[in-house]
Symmetry: C2
Subunit: 131 residues, 2 copies
DNA sequence: CGGAATCCCAAAAGATACTG
DNA sequence: CAGTATCTTTTGGGATTCCG
């Protein structure tokens, strides 16, 4: 993999800074696998985005996220709470009102959601154009 | 939602450009759901990254992606081919050799993988620190 | 309204073995 | 090497009901 005089260094792609060492490759790949581990499934990021868009009540979130059932939403909210992406607040009104709120830590996901949103937009256009 | 003199504009978060209209919120959320639809599961992005890191043969990919079984890898590769992220090339050597290669379109995922990688790295550190 | 509980099914994924 | 076949387990998620 080292550059030999007069021989072009192989260009792997337009992607990362470089292929770098095999070790760094594995690290990078492992990081993505780590990320996908906590963000698994099709609901977690959409829920976080819904909360960011202003939803806070269970029903609001359910309406915002296309197609999720209460059963699944309930479970996902617990997951997100465990991973410290949201907090669940109970207000002693009558009847009690419950609000979900993003934590500061969830803000670190900004780059991820932004990248996914941008990619999703152009991907959708591409699909529509093809048909 | 417009700024009134002397009254702070409500800040929803440190995220997107703005909450904007409910319509735009839904669009943004839908875009992410679109993206997650084709990138679903824990394997697709890691496989793409492995390919980008230089792997091209079935066995290489399997070794690069931590924990994937041949059965699942086979299925995921077909999915990725269908979605035009990779191409499968058969070379008439003896025995035949088969190579998987990223398409140009897969390069559009660069932003997504980079964001996930960066987030994954700091998330891992956070978890390790907490324990 | 905001869930929890239960039941159930289908799809996804893992383990292992095997083949051209 | 590049998968397939088979089997088992796990997960996701729909439907429905119930509760405070």
């Amino acid at each position: 993999m080292s550059t030999v005089d007069g021989i072009e260094e192989p260009v792997f792609s337009a992607w990362g800074p470089k292929p770098a060492s095999a070790h760094e490759c594995n690290q990078s790949l492992q990081a993505v696998q780590d990320a996908l581990y906590v963000l698994n499934g099709k609901w977690k990021l959409p829920i976080i985005i819904a909360l960011d868009n202003g939803a806070s009540r269970f029903g609001e979130i359910q309406r915002a996220v296309n197609g999720i059932t209460p059963r699944v939403l309930s479970k996902e909210l617990k997951d997100l709470e465990m991973n410290e992406f949201i907090v669940r607040r109970v207000y002693p009104t009558t009847p009690v009102s419950i609000e979900y709120e993003l934590t500061d830590y969830s803000a670190t996901l900004q780059g991820v959601t932004e990248a996914l949103r941008n990619w999703g937009i152009q991907h959708r256009e591409r699909i529509l154009k093809r048909n």
